[in-house]
Symmetry: C2
Subunit: 312 residues, 2 copies
């Protein structure tokens, strides 16, 4: 009897401003190999070349690699070919799929990194088997993705589910997007740091004032230690996350809401705080029986997501 | 040569708290016949019987009727069989599809009336041919629906797109849902009337105080005539509608946003006000090139929507 052919493999690449991660993945989600490359911001061809070298090295060792998925920070067109804009990478209108197809001779699909992370959690993580789910990642910013009736919601221009930029209070703090009171301005790490700096500059007393530079981790630590300013900023970040999550539940009626990201990883009590807050809301259709779960795949989520769904 | 068979027809029924409307519709969207029945709130079998009489009368006259779609105010399960809850009709857990299938011997699908109206606008109205669209209906309440990548978003429990109950400011006025600052509390007709009553009861001077009962139409008329209270309430309703629409554009990234409902029909300047407000927002992906259009089908939208999409 002939030997059965080796299982088909796909490669998932996650290109961010601070990391380039490659996973070689079997169809059942098993990670067969992994590689990390130093991040290079700047010219897309310079960023892409070391990726193609690693891909082609793996193709020599594993002959059954048949596609490549790429997760990329920024606004990716809905057809999965072009990075319209990526502030993190300093890219504008980059035909990333064409570039990599030329260098690797494999079919390529590009996906926004947050959407990719949700696809990963949906294919092999915290949202496995759910038909309607919302993912929210609380980090420097507040990102999100939505799967509705089993399909990733990309929108007309690939820009859907910008959950961090829905406005929770038009009189709120200024956001990087130019509007006031976006969820991200309250609950993103960068927003929290800005508000601490502003308060200190305005003369407010705080243990944070003596630090050379305020970080999100220090705000969380100071809040735990009882610092009034840090408690206020952290408390508001939590309360606004409850409002944001309730809004998404009401708008999307998901079975599961996945919460992840650096701020949650650094302070797991945030998830309990959001859950308590949602439980105390008046009953409402979309809020009934929503399961709030922590993200399960950590930093692998996006690369795994594009590897497992690129052919879909 | 034999005569070609007559074209297949479907019936769309719109059951609301104040109206029951039936349309007999050809596959191309042409309305072949129509009927209006008096609204009966109360026992579902009493409401459904005259509908079935009209359906069976049409079946006698038109032999090629092959399905029935029903639009119903309230929370309809995602599988289109059961009305989970309809405050307008006083219904709870009504197996409406079963009831009508027994009486009419036709396959039946039930849809929430606002989703049905969006399906109508998408199949034959203002959102014709668009793959991603959001509809918002500003009336007594604020209702909405979403089509993403060509599919109606129903959510896990059929409760998705409750756009009027996403919170625009947690310190805002009390909403009927028990929370504060929902879009509906600001911009729904009932919310506007409540706020006028409260201000008058608190002693605020207004031309509205002399009226036996305040209505939305009177608030709009008084605002136009320069009444300070009416102008404040109407102005806030407009500003909050801009915030709500911007949030939906950022979350859903649609090609088209359809705006309809009684409040818009009674005051077409509202649409221009929302459009101006959205145009003045800082540029943002989901907001770019969004077309804001008035609903085109009026009161026929929901019945037409279920008639044209029931087999889909």
């Amino acid at each position: 009897m002939p030997k059965p052919p080796p299982p088909p493999l796909t490669i998932g690449v996650d290109i961010g401003g601070t990391h380039v991660r490659l996973l070689l993945v079997a169809d059942d989600g098993q990670v067969v190999n992994r590689a990390h490359l130093p991040a290079i911001a700047g010219d897309p061809t310079e960023v892409v070349r070391p990726v193609s070298v690693q891909v082609n090295r793996w193709r020599g060792a594993y002959p059954h690699i048949f596609r490549l998925g790429v997760a990329c920070a920024g606004w990716v067109d809905a057809d999965g070919r072009r990075v319209h804009q990526s502030p993190n990478l300093g890219w504008h209108d980059v035909r990333l799929a064409d570039l990599l197809e030329t260098l690797c001779r494999l079919p390529v699909r590009v996906e926004n990194d947050v959407n990719a992370a949700l696809l990963g959690e949906h294919a092999a993580g915290a949202a496995l088997g759910q038909r309607n789910c919302v993912a929210v990642f609380l980090g420097t910013g507040v990102g999100g993705g939505v799967i509705t009736d089993g399909h990733l919601m990309r929108g007309a221009k690939g820009a859907a589910a910008e959950v961090g930029h829905h406005v929770l209070d038009p009189n709120g703090p200024l956001c990087t997007c130019g509007r006031h009171g976006c969820w991200e301005a309250y609950s993103g790490g960068a927003g929290m740091v800005n508000r601490a700096r502003e308060a200190i500059a305005a003369g407010e007393k705080s243990s944070l004032a003596s630090l050379p530079a305020v970080t999100t981790a220090e705000i969380m630590a100071a809040a735990t230690a009882g610092d009034a300013l840090a408690k206020r900023i952290w408390g508001e970040a939590c309360r606004r996350s409850i409002q944001g999550m309730v809004n998404l539940a009401v708008l999307f009626d998901p079975e599961v809401m996945v919460v992840g990201g650096g701020v949650v990883a650094a302070n797991p009590t945030l998830l309990a705080c959001i859950k308590d807050g949602m439980d105390q809301e008046p009953p409402f259709a979309g809020l009934t029986d929503v399961h709030l779960v922590p993200a399960a795949l950590g930093d692998d989520a996006a690369a795994l997501g594009v590897a497992l769904t690129t052919g879909v």
